[in-house]
């Protein structure tokens, strides 16, 4: 196999470059459209709350856990000022803001209009039925990293 010759030889590199520039790009147009569209998800003033825990990913990283042993998925997001804990069941998405304060949470979902749900004085909120697909939650000036439900 000589496919990596371009790493050493100038002639091979120029040859691969020529092939690359003469080969039609196989990327579907919808992939570019989706990538352009996510720019509108950007919230300039909001601080990003990073995903610090996702039971679906973290627990599977440890071998042996079966699906039925983890039917409630939990996620945690953290920014410098706010922690957002989520529990996902089949009927609702339950959330807890720490510390409490913001009075509503806005749900952004791919391909549909944003909507808000109230947060009670203890910082808990409930979104039923749970949203599906790629979503973000915005609470006051904090926005979660996008996640799949």
């Amino acid at each position: 196999m000589t496919s990596n010759d371009w790493q050493e030889s100038d002639e091979a590199l120029l040859q691969v470059l020529t092939q690359a520039l003469h080969t039609p790009d196989p990327t579907p147009a919808s992939v570019r459209e989706a990538a352009r569209a996510v720019y509108t998800w950007r919230t300039i003033e909001a601080e990003l709350a990073e995903l610090v825990h996702d039971s679906r990913v973290d627990e599977l990283a440890m071998a042996g856990l079966r699906a039925e042993e983890a039917d409630l998925r939990t996620l945690s997001f953290e920014s410098s000022t706010l922690t957002i804990e989520l529990g996902v069941s089949t009927t609702a998405l339950l959330g807890q803001l720490v510390p409490p304060g913001p009075t509503e949470v806005t749900v952004h979902r791919e391909g549909s209009a944003a909507y808000s749900v109230p947060v009670d004085p203890d910082g808990t909120f409930r979104i039923a039925p749970p949203p599906t697909g790629l979503i973000t939650l915005t609470c006051a000036d904090v926005v979660t990293a996008a996640f799949h439900l």
Binding site: V16, L21, T27, P28, R42, R66, A67
Partner: protein, 195 residues
């Protein structure tokens, strides 16, 4: 955008310039998609994971420390999101473990894999080319015509003595090879071989 360095585009996009964002997408979306495909995602899954990668970029635009290294960041993030994708799939279909545990990036001993690897290499080459200074791009375009342009013509077009064309060509090729996209590819391939 005349010069290929993505720094200006990243800064503008972080500042709210939609056109700069679209220009980034135009240039780099094929590389993200090809990387997902090389991780053996089918077309629909690769499209989904690509979108997640672009969302990660939206989230991280203001704090991207080395905008110049953007292609490397995108490829690494794509690999990371592909791994996450397989883990979450395992959760949904635990019976499918044997097939899913198999999921690793393509290697070039298989003909289908070889196609995926070639597509990613081509996507990385196009990115590396787009990031070159205009002078290098013009020179390569002239050299890539069939038949290649005569040195005298190149000399006129680039306002450069004939004797300087050879050294410029080799400097530009070196620059191409040292691009973030191709270096990430080389580093990743080295990693796969050692595994």
């Amino acid at each position: 955008m005349a010069d290929g360095d993505p720094t200006a585009l990243v800064t503008a996009a972080a500042g709210g310039d939609t056109q700069a964002w679209n220009a980034l997408v135009e240039r780099y979306a094929p590389l993200v998609y090809a990387t997902c495909r090389r991780w053996r995602l089918d077309a629909a899954d690769a499209a989904d994971v690509s979108q997640t990668v672009w969302l990660r970029l939206v989230e991280n635009l203001p704090k991207l420390r080395e905008p110049k290294a953007l292609p490397g960041w995108l490829m690494t993030t794509a690999a990371h999101e592909c791994t996450r994708f397989y883990r979450s799939r395992r959760r949904e279909r635990p019976d499918d473990l044997t097939t899913l545990l198999d999921r690793t990036p393509a290697d070039d001993t298989d003909p289908i894999d070889a196609g995926l690897i070639r597509d990613e290499l081509h996507a990385a080459m196009r990115v590396a080319f787009a990031e070159l200074p205009e002078r290098c791009r013009t020179l390569f375009s002239l050299l890539m015509t069939d038949p290649p342009a005569a040195y005298t013509e190149i000399s006129t077009r680039l306002a450069m003595p004939c004797g300087a064309i050879g050294p410029t060509r080799s400097r530009c090729l070196d620059r191409l090879r040292r691009s973030a996209a191709l270096q990430t590819l080389i580093a990743d391939a080295g990693h796969a071989v050692r595994r």
